[in-house]
Amino acid sequence: MDPLDGNAIGGLMHEVFGAEMTAVTATCATCGASGPVAQTVVYLDAPGTVVRCRNCASVLMVFARVHDRYCVDLQGLAALGAR
């Protein structure tokens, strides 16, 4: 199953962050590459959603829905937003 891109998590990110996020710039903490969230590499299959850097494949974000809450890991990002 081919991975998708950050457009596929537009709804999820809007739910988590309270705003449209696909056009926001994400900067990778591992390699420094940056680009719109829409262009990240997204693995959507449960158990959870894993978002990776298109340049180096490092994990940028993980979202896991556990009961009625999201567990969100953003440690792979150096920045999310205007740089």
Partner: protein, 202 residues
């Protein structure tokens, strides 16, 4: 929850007579879905090793040839994924984890399986011994395909299949139970499908 979609059933096919084999909340599939958290590793067998580690060090390591020289087993098992699909009577060729752990002296109570690509998952030692777990390198009569975890994966059919780490390269011996990748994000530390232990607290 107020809204029910008229006429929507999802995939619900439990073949007649197999109800006892399907844990609660699961459906039976004829497919073998591929679920991934990252790109598929492609590790050549001539550079592949499997290690038992503890602390920072390696207690024992096998090359592919050394692993293949160990006693082999044909395993038939039902497997259950936390995403609700179950696949019955899957056929594997494998080495028992007992065979590997017997060659190492230790008193660990837990293991953390680690894989190419960085995936980890934790299990109690007693759940990977006693004939309950394997290092599987063959599936359905052929080599295990990379998309399903080849060249070799962990196979622990009595727990949810996220514990059967794909692309496994070893087991780290631990004194205490430490959460692996999905466990860190709230998935159950143990994962018994018959008790529907999908998430922490279940």
């Amino acid at each position: 929850m107020s809204h029910i979609s008229r006429g929507f059933h999802g995939r619900r096919r439990t073949p007649a007579g197999q109800e006892g084999r399907v844990p609660p909340g699961q459906y039976v599939t004829e497919d073998f879905p591929v679920l991934s958290a990252g790109p598929t590793p492609h590790t050549p067998t001539d550079s592949w090793t499997f290690s038992i580690t503890q602390g920072g060090g390696t207690k024992k390591s096998w090359t592919w040839a050394e692993m293949q020289a160990l006693p082999q087993e044909d395993v038939t098992a039902d497997i259950h994924c936390v995403t609700r699909w179950s696949k019955l009577d899957t056929h594997w060729q494998a080495v028992s984890i007992d065979t590997l752990l017997e060659q190492v002296e230790h008193d660990a109570a837990y293991v953390l399986a680690f894989s190419d690509g960085g995936y980890t998952t934790n299990l109690p030692l007693e759940d990977v011994t006693g004939g309950r777990a394997w290092l599987a390198y063959g599936y359905d009569g052929g080599p295990l395909p990379a998309e399903h975890g080849g060249p070799a994966r962990l196979l622990v059919p009595h727990l949810y299949f996220w514990k059967s780490a794909k692309w496994v390269r070893g087991l780290q011996l631990l004194d205490t139970d430490e959460p692996g990748f999905w466990e860190t994000y709230g998935y159950h530390m143990y994962g018994d499908p018959w008790k529907e232990q999908r998430y922490a607290g279940d």
